[in-house]
């Protein structure tokens, strides 16, 4: 890491004068009805360098990527590509000029193989007949260059997110890409996968390919990028070399205010009887012999790599999927939920990892989402009492600091930022009066301001005497919040840390090492 940075610094010093921008955006503006998404933003991206774009949700990063990808056209300003002004007629046009954007929602056809996906839209044919062998060979070669040894004909649906990402990258390489833009590429990757992707990104730059890297993870940004642009509210607030800025300064630029992470949990030492007691919970092959306790007023963190079985355990406890062996008791009574309803009725709330897919009815308003699990309470003989419902929804939305205040509970959740959507999910489960709240990656893809609000919320839930299980891949989050940390590896509890033992090093060591 240290030497990496030094090397990059040297690279930069050498490169400062001889590099020219491959892609230049000058004072580009993009307006949508009622909002200026980008306001006279400048951006210069050099060949063979990584340029990171950071900013809170709603800062304009996605819009910027859409302009670069040719999916949208600016209302004002100029885009220059390779020294000449251009107007991208369509994503296809941008693609043909050598620009590929790899979105968070990967654009692959799940039931086709990597080879078919890589050549989608540019199939090699002879007399109208696909040259499958030639394409498969080329695909395999491109995949191998990226360190991915898979059968290129198996459906990409069977690949992990990280592998699919590399398939998209291989597709770009086969098309002689000159600029690759990544939108939050590491949000769902394990530490190991992140390291692999980072290495591949460095390799891209050695081939003279320009990289745009959009991410919330400032440590990665600082590790990978030589230059960083910070957007806030559609404006460029800062651009400069990575070596000129530290993390605190970046956060300040992003949020326009100082945000301090509290480094330690409140130091609670509850002695009450466990509200949740899990013994030997097993469902092969997802998880084996998982045991832990959770006391009222306690935050127990669950660390581990993606695929360690954390979400599976949570889903089992939430009545979504069954378990095959093991005993669980909740508030001293045997607990074996058969449906999510059972879990809710027993006082266990599960806030799923993918809030858009599992957590919210996006078309519903804030009010309708928030009251969905507890609608019974507002219904008399099936009829919903609207005033009671509204009152409860407003109180819950206010309690989670839904912004802007006072919260508009009649707004469709579709139109909210990621952070606000997550707050709606929290508000929803606040209303259930659960005794146990299981958070699964509560702040993933959430902007810094909302993250602070959510952390405060999680703490205050524990202060209210709830048992909180916090699944998180963000070590600072676990360090800041958890009283104890359970580390899972390959479906088993690899260890449990408490007190001064809760350190990033100990957690990572348990999560990755083989015993």
């Amino acid at each position: 890491m240290q030497t990496d940075r030094k090397r990059r610094r040297e690279k930069q010093v050498v490169g400062v004068h001889c590099r020219v921008s491959l892609l230049t955006l000058s004072a580009v503006t993009k307006r949508y009805p009622g909002v200026t998404a980008l306001d006279a933003v400048d951006l210069g991206v050099e060949a063979g360098a990584v340029h990171a774009i950071v900013g809170e949700n709603g800062a304009g990063k996605s819009t910027l990527l859409k302009l670069i990808a040719g999916a949208e056209r600016p209302d004002a300003g100029e885009i220059r590509w390779d020294g000449a002004p251009v107007t991208f007629a369509s994503p296809r046009d941008a693609l043909r000029r050598g620009i590929t954007v790899i979105y968070q929602e990967l654009a692959l056809v799940p039931n086709l193989g990597a080879d078919a996906n890589i050549f989608l839209g540019m199939e090699r044919t002879r007399g109208g007949v696909l040259q499958a062998d030639a394409m498969r060979e080329t695909a395999a070669k491109a995949l191998a260059e990226l360190g991915l040894s898979i059968d290129p004909t198996q459906p990409v649906a069977r690949l992990s997110v990280a592998q699919r990402q590399l398939v998209e990258l291989a597709r770009a390489l086969v098309r002689d890409v000159r600029l690759v833009a990544f939108d939050e590429p590491t949000a769902t990757l394990t530490a190991h996968e992140v390291a692999h992707l980072a290495a591949r990104i460095e390799w891209l730059t050695t081939k003279g390919i320009a990289v745009i890297f959009v991410s919330h993870r400032l440590d990665e940004v600082r590790h990978l990028a030589s230059r960083i642009t910070v957007l806030r509210d559609g404006r460029r607030v800062w651009t400069g070399a990575t070596i000129d800025v530290d993390e605190a300064a970046l956060i300040r630029h992003m949020v326009g205010r100082d945000v301090a992470y509290q480094r330690h949990p409140a130091g609670r030492a509850p002695h009450a009887a466990p509200v949740l007691d899990v013994r030997g919970l097993t469902r092969a092959p997802a998880f084996h012999d998982v045991s832990f306790t959770l006391r009222p007023g306690e935050i127990v963190g669950v660390a581990g790599l993606v695929g360690a079985g954390r979400t599976e355990v949570a889903r089992a406890l939430a009545g979504i999927e069954p378990w095959s062996a093991g005993e669980v008791s909740l508030s001293g009574a045997p607990y074996r939920p058969r449906t999510p309803r059972d879990a809710i009725d027993r006082g266990l709330a599960y806030l799923p990892e993918d809030r858009q897919r599992d957590g919210l009815v996006l078309r519903f308003t804030v009010r309708e989402n928030v009251t969905l699990p507890v609608l019974r309470r507002f219904a008399r003989r099936g009829q919903i009492r609207r005033e009671e419902e509204t009152r409860a929804a407003r109180a819950a939305a206010t309690a989670v600091d839904l912004r802007p205040a006072p919260p508009d509970i009649e707004r469709p959740t579709l139109l909210l930022s990621g952070g606000n959507q997550q707050k709606v999910v929290v508000a929803k489960w606040l209303l259930t009066d659960a005794r146990i709240i299981v958070f699964d990656e509560p702040t993933r893809g959430v902007d810094v301001g909302a993250k602070v609000d959510l952390h405060r919320q999680i703490r205050s839930l524990a202060d209210l005497g709830k048992g909180v299980l916090l699944i998180s891949s963000e070590l600072p989050e676990l360090l800041a919040l958890a009283d104890r940390v359970l580390v899972m590896r390959a479906g088993r509890v690899a260890g449990e840390l408490s007190g001064d033992d809760v350190t990033a090093e100990r957690i990572m060591a348990l999560a990755v090492e083989t015993p």
């Binding site: 949508y32 449906t339 799923p352 969905l372």
Partner: protein, 336 residues
């Protein structure tokens, strides 16, 4: 705004055009006739809306109109029943048989879809075929209804048919309306009003939208997804049964081929009325307005003496227009 009232505006524009250019359209008698003709389709479209909002489809309602219809007619004109419970009792029984059959088959559709996890298109395609075959089997292919002149129970059977006709084809005397107000139209308004209430004001209705909007999120929120889906299909089937009763009453007979292709008209009305086949979107009043739009169009073209073939083409064009309009207005929502 346009999205919400677009169909209403289209209906008003079409009615205005018809009023200006179609002689006889604006006559009160004609307007009530439109309501009469629309009532069966509007009731089917209402039930269909429940199913479509959950993200499903119900292809069986047309056949169900036929099947529930022949059972209704059989119960109504059975000499045994008439002898035992009289005309009034037989009429009540017939109504129960009609709606009960519809709701039961609908519940079976829902059970197969929700608990059996079979695609609703396939399930209801199968029950559509089965119900039509059953209707033909029960009747031997011949309509059940008006008794032969030498039937010993002729008087009772005629009286029973007349009793049901009061529901399906009757008219309530209204001052100023020469022929009165059609009873089926009143039933239609009541049913649509009840449907609107259930969809917008009850827990069950909220669950219907939640399931269509995001089934997984609804399930994780503790919504009894399977039960609610079953309920939606049962409502659709029940509406088909009710439509069958009105049709038998109107025609004084239950034919095995009654209701042929009605499912497509019901889907058309629901979709024109704003329901999205992707689920989560649709309203009861929208279904009514969609049915009215089709009814006004048919009536206007009828009065102009346009061939029915052209009417079908016009109806198809309106469906395309409605859906295109829907897609276009939705496109504006994407940037946020």
């Amino acid at each position: 705004m346009m999205r919400r009232y677009g169909v209403v505006i289209a209906l008003l524009a079409l009615s205005l055009g018809a009023a200006l250019f179609v002689p006889g359209f604006l006559a009160l008698g004609n307007l009530t006739t439109i309501l009469l003709h629309v009532s069966v389709n509007a009731i089917l479209a209402l039930g269909m809306t429940f199913v479509i909002v959950t993200g499903g489809i119900d292809l069986s309602v047309g056949s169900l109109v036929g099947f529930a219809g022949v059972l209704t007619a059989a119960a109504l004109t059975s000499a045994g029943t008439l002898g035992a419970v009289g005309v009034g009792g037989a009429t009540l029984l017939a109504v129960l048989v009609g709606t009960g059959t519809g709701a039961a088959v609908g519940a079976a559709n829902g059970a197969l879809t929700a608990y059996g996890r079979i695609a609703p298109f396939v399930v209801t395609l199968a029950t559509m075929t089965i119900a039509r075959g059953a209707a033909r089997l029960v009747t031997g292919g011949v309509p059940i209804g008006f008794p032969a002149a030498d039937d010993p129970a002729f008087a009772q059977k005629s009286a029973a048919l007349d009793a049901l006709h009061a529901i399906g084809g009757g008219r309530l005397p209204v001052p100023g309306l020469e022929r009165g107000f059609p009873v089926p139209a009143l039933i239609m308004l009541a049913v649509v009003g009840a449907g609107a209430f259930v969809l917008t004001r009850t827990r069950f209705g909220r669950y219907i939208y939640a399931i269509g909007g995001n089934e997984e999120a609804a399930r994780l929120s503790g919504v009894p997804v399977k039960g609610v889906k079953l309920g939606a299909y049962a409502i659709s089937g029940g509406c088909a049964g009710l439509a069958a009763i009105l049709l038998v009453g109107q025609l004084k007979s239950g034919g095995p081929d009654a209701g042929l292709l009605y499912e497509l008209n019901a889907i058309a009305a629901a979709v024109i009325g704003g329901a999205s086949l992707l689920g989560g979107v649709g309203t009861a009043w929208g279904a009514l307005v969609g049915a009215l739009l089709i009814g006004v169009l048919n009536n206007g073209l009828d009065l102009l003496g346009v061939q029915s073939f052209w009417q079908e083409i016009a109806k198809g064009a309106i469906i395309l227009f409605a859906v295109t309009f829907d897609v276009w207005t939705k496109r504006g929502h994407h940037h946020a």
